[in-house]
């Protein structure tokens, strides 16, 4: 029997992950032990404190550059930056999830098992307090994301993928209103997500096969081995290409890139809006964090092979997102297609393999996350007796009814459209500049052209809000409680600050933009 050697573990460096997972487990205990009327407060506080503690640990270990837990986790600049980003954005999302003043009882169903559209269901929709299980679920998801961006081998990455995906599938199904839509969204997300996971796993297997047979090394799926195998393996490159393609499918699915994007509009529309915001901001960060690491660390030397393909995917994603956004009549679907187009821009950043390109992509992720969370925060506010009024025609004349919130939303839309003095412009510049420098002029031109198309739907919403007369059915904007207001203001302020003075965050991103191998 061979002796098992325990890997050394740097506990301080992986503390953020441990804190989030610990808090999630503790949250399950809270569900079991704390009286119902206290649970909401306790759970929300617990989740926020955990995020805060994890963020503190990230900041404290800011200079850490190690690979730990065997070869499983790499705690380096990009990991820490993206973990910080996920935690900050997750804190904002938690504020939205925890709000119970905009909708009485919160945005979540009181009892998930009640049959949709039944009399019981109508009763629970009237204002019984929502499930508190959403907090441990969210905390698990955050923990999974933290592992996902740190994963240094494909198996760890796969497990992290499942850890953050499963809670998200559930969260999608828990909307208080329009529950059939919500459950359908969750089902769709789950089925397609399961397919994507399968693709990913199959890709891992092929890559493992490819790494076998390098002289002096055993086969493995950690990134150092893959990196070595790309240049040295005697195996047929068909294995490598097939493996890369399957891995990419799994990751691009999470990133909502075309042609793996079809779930996005349905899920964004059906999921409870705070969860949609959480997915749009944090899942994007996690998915692109993993994409960056896989393609810039493991497969860096194969970039001649994957750049044209990923470039085509990027162009397709931008086109699909922009063109289909034009035809949308529902604000959540519009934001979903906009998020698809943004995935395309981010892919341009992934294909700019320089330090500036990496820094620009990370900057973009943070800037976009703030804006999109603020956007969904506004969506939760525009409502009538039946819940959120997401159809665009209902937003007509909103600028007259509630000029303040309409102005905030207009600002966010201008940011999405890339108007200067917003983070939307600086982040586009941060990506397009290095991409052009890296010789990807065609991607930049495609990005610019699709930005033009994409400006139209945003502008249409602005026209709706300001230039149209309010109709009979124009809902009013609910004055938000403290939590949603805080999230909204943080998002808008960050959009402004990152647009006017992006230098500090850029410095931080540039300083962090180096992977350990």
């Amino acid at each position: 029997m061979t002796e098992l050697k325990l890997p050394s573990i740097e506990y301080a460096a992986i503390a953020p992950i441990l804190i989030m997972l610990g808090a999630a487990l503790f949250g399950v205990l809270v569900e079991a032990l704390v009286p119902r009327r206290w649970r909401h407060l306790v759970q929300l506080t617990l989740a926020l404190l955990a995020v805060l503690a994890a963020l503190t640990m990230v900041v404290l270990s800011a200079d850490e550059r190690i690979i730990t837990v065997g070869q499983a986790l790499a705690i380096d600049g990009p990991t820490l930056f993206l973990q910080g980003a996920i935690l900050v954005l997750a804190a904002m999302a938690l504020l939205l999830i925890g709000d119970r003043s905009v909708e009485r009882g919160g945005a979540f169903v009181a009892q998930a098992a009640v049959t949709a559209e039944s009399a019981d269901d109508r009763r629970q929709a009237e204002g019984r307090n929502g499930l508190t299980e959403v907090y441990p679920l969210t905390t698990f998801a955050i923990g999974g994301m933290l592992i996902f961006v740190a994963a240094n081998d494909l198996l760890t990455m796969f497990i992290a993928l499942e850890v953050f995906s499963l809670p998200l599938y559930l969260l999608c199904a828990l909307a208080r209103r329009r529950r059939l839509l919500s459950q359908e969204a969750a089902m769709k997300y789950f089925l397609l997500g399961a397919y994507a996971s399968a693709f990913f796993l199959f890709g891992v297997a092929l890559i493992y096969g490819f790494t076998a047979g390098i002289p002096g090394r055993s086969a493995g799926v950690d990134f150092a081995t893959i990196h070595a195998a790309v240049s040295e393996s005697p195996a047929s490159p068909v294995l490598l290409f097939a493996g890369m393609a399957l891995l990419a499918i799994g990751l691009l699915f999470k990133a909502a890139a075309a042609p793996f994007h079809v779930w996005t509009p349905d899920v964004y529309q059906g999921a409870p809006t705070p969860v949609t915001g959480f997915m749009a901001a944090c899942t994007k960060v996690a998915a692109f964090g993993a994409l960056l690491r896989v393609f810039q660390v493991a497969f860096a030397d194969a970039n001649w092979d994957f750049t044209p393909v990923l470039g085509a995917v990027a162009v397709l994603t931008m086109l699909v997102g922009a063109v289909l956004a034009v035809t949308q009549t529902d604000i959540k679907r519009l934001l979903a297609y906009s998020s698809i187009a943004n995935a395309g821009y981010l892919l341009v950043g992934v294909l700019a393999p320089s330090r500036d390109g990496l820094a620009g992509t990370m900057f973009y992720l943070v800037a976009y996350g703030f804006s999109v969370l603020a956007a969904f925060a506004v969506v939760t506010l525009v409502r009538d007796d039946d819940g959120e009024a997401t159809h665009l025609s209902r937003w007509a004349g909103l600028g007259r009814r509630s000029p303040f919130f309409a102005a905030l939303f207009t600002f966010i839309l201008l940011a999405f459209a890339g108007i200067p003095l917003t983070s939307g412009f600086t982040s586009k510049f941060a990506i397009f500049g290095p991409a052009l420098e890296g010789g990807q002029a065609w991607l930049v031109i495609a990005g610019v052209l699709t930005s033009m198309i994409l400006a139209f739907p945003y502008l249409r919403v602005v026209v709706m809000m300001w230039l149209s007369e309010p109709g009979e059915s124009t809902p009013t904007v609910t004055v938000p409680g403290g939590l949603t207001a805080a999230a909204l203001m943080i998002g808008v302020l960050a959009t402004l600050v990152l647009g006017v003075a992006p230098a500090p965050l850029l410095d931080l991103a540039t300083g962090a933009a180096e992977f350990v191998r």
């Binding site: 200067p420 412009f425 052009l436 052209l449 026209v463």
Partner: protein, 511 residues
């Protein structure tokens, strides 16, 4: 005084004013108007002081200031003005107070917040000043794009018929141009060694192919902004729908950003490409002159008519720029100023006429001169200035453009001269159909048409008339400032004026 940071203060001052005005209570519209007007006068005074401290014979760029902004990308707040920019800044400073005064009651009819209207005008002034004062390409781009936002809301919220359509069309056209420019800006940044400083970039050598693409990106944005044929279709809609004051600024100043951009960015930064594309640009200019003038003749809407005349005039400016002679260049810059004054006046007067009649259709007028003689007289004067009658300022600029072009490109100059004849046609016919002839009986039933210009309106038109006449007879103070800047631009592209000579045929005949 020359160390005073004129340009940054001038840029920021209107913004501060806008914030003050925007937060005035909505039910005190009069106070908002007064504050806005006083604030714009303050900007005017400061600009005059700046004009006086500008040394016409000194450096090309004066009042240079630079503050770091985004060091990671080499972006800084760099302001500097050459003679061309200085003239445009003065034009803005003169026009904005007059526009505010002229729009005194415009916002009230729209049921929307009056203070916001004036705040938007001041924001617009801030961005317009910034775009002319910037000496950093990134900063220029920022102002170039942000400028759209206040204008969009001015047209969309306070405009007339079809305002939504016009506002969206305006925004999208400009944004499309802007995004092409963004691609070129990034490209320039990459080939220029990651700096945005204008002076550093003008020293960079760029390979011919790249240079042409970059030129095209910038030129497209400016050609849409100016607008040149065939990118002009947004202007009649926007000009027709915008409130008269905003339209005066749109056509008088905003569109000059396009021609200014060509002079400041396209020619000096991409000299080879400019020369390569010059025939095409000249062709666009000439087509614009004739085509837009023909369309102007056919208009029945006063504001659309004035918009089309402007497109024809921008054709002249384009021809003047791409003729690459000092005379034509000076003429083009002078034209930018004079056109701002003359068309600004025309738009404001037309706005006064429309406000009285409640309609902008020429066919709703007729013989109005019998009811409002002074207003009709001012309209006639503005029309004459617009068709470049000798003795008015536009004549000098048009003449300079034509003789400057004639020395290097006779066919273009000859065709462009046709534009003068067409200008007479559209102006005189418009004046005839609105104010001359038999009185349209419907007019006597409109209350407004019985009131001639009041004191406020006289104060609006008087300075513009005075400036047009003054510069028509004595343009020297302005040309002194413009000439060195144009000369420097011509040096940048390496063109020298052809030596004056008697035509070949004459010499042969003498033999």
């Amino acid at each position: 005084m020359s160390n005073f940071p004129f340009l940054s203060v001038l840029t920021v001052a209107p913004l501060v004013g806008a914030l003050v005005v925007a937060f005035l209570p909505r039910h005190r519209p009069e106070l908002a108007k007064q504050v806005a007007f006083a604030w714009s006068l303050l900007v005017l005074v400061l600009s005059v002081v700046m004009w006086v401290s500008f040394n016409a014979g000194g450096d090309r760029f004066q009042f240079r200031e630079s503050y770091s902004w985004i060091p990671n990308w080499g972006v800084s707040f760099t302001f500097a003005a050459d003679g061309i920019a200085l003239v445009m800044l003065m034009l803005i400073a003169v026009l904005v107070p007059l526009v505010i005064l002229a729009s005194w009651h415009d916002a009230e009819s729209s049921k929307r917040s009056v203070p916001v209207y004036f705040a938007l005008l001041l924001v617009l002034e801030c961005t317009m000043i910034g775009v002319f004062a910037a000496a950093d390409v990134f900063l220029f781009y920022v102002f170039f794009e942000v400028m759209l936002v206040p204008m969009y809301f001015l047209i969309g919220s306070y405009g007339g018929h079809q305002r939504q359509y016009a506002a969206v069309k305006f925004f999208l056209y400009s944004l499309v141009g802007g995004l092409f420019m963004l691609a070129a800006v990034i490209g320039l940044w990459v080939v220029g060694g990651k700096t945005f400083d204008w002076q550093a970039l003008s020293q960079v050598d760029i390979s011919t192919g790249t240079e042409r693409w970059l030129f095209l990106g910038f030129f497209l944005a400016f050609a849409i902004k100016a607008p040149f044929f065939p990118f002009h279709t947004w202007l009649p809609d926007a000009g027709g729908a915008a409130p008269a004051g905003a339209a005066a600024l749109l056509v008088g100043v905003l569109d000059k950003v396009g021609t200014f951009g060509i002079l400041r960015y396209c020619l000096p930064l991409f000299p080879e490409a400019s020369k390569w594309f010059a025939p095409w640009a000249l062709a666009l200019g000439v087509i614009g002159i004739v085509y837009a003038a023909l369309l102007a003749v056919g208009q029945n809407d006063l504001k659309r008519l004035v918009s089309y005349t402007s497109i024809a005039h921008f054709g002249f400016i384009g021809v003047g720029i791409f003729a690459f002679t000092t005379q034509a260049g000076t003429g083009a810059v002078l034209y930018m100023l004079n056109h701002g004054l003359a068309t600004g006046l025309l738009f404001l007067v037309v706005g006064m006429l429309i406000a009285r009649r409640g309609s902008s259709l020429i066919s709703d007028f007729g013989g109005a001169g019998k009811l409002v003689p002074v207003l009709a007289g001012v309209l006639f004067f503005a029309g004459l200035a617009s068709l470049a009658l000798p003795g008015t300022a536009p004549f000098i600029s048009e003449f300079l453009v034509l003789i400057g072009t004639f020395t290097v490109n006779k066919p273009v100059a000859v065709i462009a001269t046709l534009g003068i004849i067409l200008a007479a046609a559209y102006v005189l016919w418009m004046v005839q159909r609105t104010t001359q002839g038999t009185l349209n009986p419907a007019l006597t039933e409109v209350d407004g048409m019985r009131r001639d210009l009041n004191l406020r309106e006289k104060v609006v038109v008087a300075p513009l008339i005075a400036l047009i006449v003054l510069l028509g007879f004595f343009p020297k103070p302005v040309t002194d400032v413009i000439n060195p800047a144009v000369q420097a631009t011509m040096d940048d592209i390496g063109r020298t004026d052809p030596a004056p000579s008697v035509g070949g045929t004459v010499q042969e005949a003498a033999r």
